[in-house]
């Protein structure tokens, strides 16, 4: 799948999939088209939580970190997405993409996880440690109960896979150590 035509056909085939799968597959198609330009989109935000909780958390759009927003916008337009405010929206798939930033902030590039999908495509997702730390910051500093719940759930779900030393170090800097320690 190297051409826009093939990519559009692949997008059409997603019509019957769940919203979760559609969002991940759309990102995989976009990744396939951007990588030859040395651009690696990274899934952040709600969709990352949805991936790491296997669909238990639900989100409404795709948040992507892309180093070249203009290039991504051109591609999304060619794929049938229309710009709408901060989003690109696909009218037939009901999928929305937002690019909140061009660099991965408050997260470690080396912690990014590559997910290889069934059909040979792949996506990149903010590291599990960093998405937990992100939700932990919202939990502690914004007093967001929902973020506390999902951060704790991801800790329970992935505790044997987490780089605790890294998480403790970042949490100390963030002023969130106490809450993180409670979840250990």
């Amino acid at each position: 799948m190297n051409s826009i035509k093939e990519a559009r056909e692949k997008l059409q085939s997603l019509q019957t999939k769940t919203s979760f799968e559609k969002m991940v597959q759309v990102t995989a198609i976009l990744t396939k088209l951007l990588e030859p330009h040395r651009i690696r989109p990274i899934i952040v935000g709600g969709l990352a939580v949805e991936i790491y909780t296997r669909g238990d958390y639900t989100t409404v759009d795709i948040d992507l970190i892309v180093s070249d927003r203009e290039k991504a916008g051109q591609l999304l337009t060619k794929l049938g997405f229309t710009p709408s405010g901060r989003h690109w929206y696909h009218d037939e798939l009901f999928v929305s993409v937002e690019i909140p930033n061009d660099v991965l902030e408050d997260a470690d590039d080396d912690k990014v996880i590559e997910l290889k999908l069934e059909d040979g495509l792949h996506v990149y997702v903010i590291g599990i440690e960093d998405i937990i730390l992100d939700r932990l910051r919202a939990c502690v500093h914004w007093k967001s109960k929902s973020d506390c719940e999902w951060a704790k759930r991801m800790v329970l779900l992935h505790k044997e896979r987490l780089d605790w030393a890294y998480m403790k170090q970042v949490a100390k800097k963030d002023g969130t150590s106490e809450q993180l320690e409670q979840w250990f």
Binding site: T18, E21, D61, Y89, F94, S96, K116, E149, K152, L156
Partner: protein
Amino acid sequence: MRKMNMSELNDWIFSRKGHVERDILKDGRGQHVRLRPRDKEEMRVLDELCIKRWKKAEQEGKIRYLNERVWYYEFD
């Protein structure tokens, strides 16, 4: 009372769904923030269900850890 069959209702919903979804997105994301915190028991049950679902996917080979930072991930 207006009568409508199921396929008419579906057509009616889908003819509007696109711009409705788009308008909701434009208005920001505040509207899907949960306001009522869950109680502890409810959270415990949801934690367990989430863990079970993940482990089941691992057992079925739908999630495999190819290395620390590369995973195979298949949908249900």
